[in-house]
Amino acid sequence: MNEPPDDFRELERTLGAIRFEPRASLGPEIAGRVGEQPPAGGDPGRRPRFRRAALAAAAAIAAAAVVLAPGGPLRSGPERVTVDRCCYDLDGGGEADDGVLIEAERDDRVHRLRVYEDRDRSSDYSAGDLLRLDRGAELALQGHGLEGLVTIERCCLDFDGGGPSDDGLLVLGVPPDRVVMAAIYERRDSPGGGTWGAPLR
């Protein structure tokens, strides 16, 4: 299918006629900010006023948490870990150039899971890598059309920072480039062999 169906032509013309123009001062302003230190774990593109506001809010929340915490100050919550595993074929493309970046509570709940193609061959996630899937804490199928869906599984590694290599990674996708779901699970040996009944996280 090389040409658009005729009835899309008007829509295409209208979309193609939309032209946005960044303000003239944006380029020099960005170049002038190159020397700024990126905020740790933050959002490097935000203007300083937003960062200051965010820091002030974070400080206020932290102070409130200390004051209100039952049983004394500085009671810590679950430890958050980030695990980056590369490189496997997770999109069915045939090349072991995909990785998974998982933010989780150690050995527990997953908060964010990204499947990426390691475009720069750095063997870990970096800014220019291609994200195949980016999900939060909730499991869901992403995208339309599930024809040709396959499973891809990697077991067993430490995907949640728990220590032992007892986690599996389950990916559902449509080769050669779509990933529609990814989750980890803790291996549970079943009498018949393999894993059975392990909750997906």
Binding site: R19, F20, R46, R47, S126, A127, Q142
Partner: protein, 182 residues
């Protein structure tokens, strides 16, 4: 040869002045396309300003990792823009409606203020409909029509084959039209 057409790490860690020079060059070459890609998916020019800045700052700070053997600088920058846009989407509520006053950055050759207003309304309607599509559709439509990428260039950014991009594009336009006719 573009400044970007070099092996990663070839120049070692770049000094700040060199990074600033690179940033200016990249912005000059790709700034408008990146901005338009983002703007198609955002409520306002201010948000597009912020995220465009973030794209170029992320790029210039990790330039040592760019590998021209893996694709062009343009597609690398677009992938960073995709990731920045997705991160932003996680932080912000999804767009419900587009304010007509948000179009200070819309170019229009309309001869009269009335025609300019009609064009802004049309663009607002289209972008509001686009915001209701799945993320993959929004990105593809923004690459193709916002930034004017060819289907081959869009395929490189998205890491898929060109025929797949065409098929997905027609499907996305079909879904967009359905939303518009609702």
């Amino acid at each position: 040869m573009s400044t970007l057409d070099r092996r990663p790490g070839q120049a070692g860690v770049l000094p700040a002045e060199r990074r600033e020079e690179l940033c200016r060059q990249w912005y000059e070459e790709h700034g408008r396309a990146i901005y338009s890609f983002l703007r198609f998916q955002l409520d306002s020019a201010d948000e597009a300003d912020d995220l465009t800045a973030e794209v170029f700052l992320r790029a210039v700070r990790s330039v040592e990792r760019f590998d021209p053997a893996r694709g062009t600088a343009r597609s690398w920058l677009f992938r960073i823009a995709q990731n920045v846009r997705r991160d932003h989407g996680r932080r912000e509520r999804r767009r419900r409606q587009v304010s007509l006053t948000a179009f200070r950055d819309l170019r229009a050759d309309a001869p009269s203020p009335e025609e300019r207003l009609l064009w802004e309304e049309e663009v607002g309607r289209l972008l509001a409909a686009l915001a209701e599509l799945p993320e993959g559709d929004r990105e593809l439509v923004s690459l193709r029509y916002g930034s004017g990428l060819s289907t081959a260039e869009a395929a490189e950014v998205l890491g898929v084959r060109e025929p797949a991009v065409r098929t997905r594009l027609w499907r996305a336009l079909g879904r967009l039209r359905k939303v518009l006719h609702r």
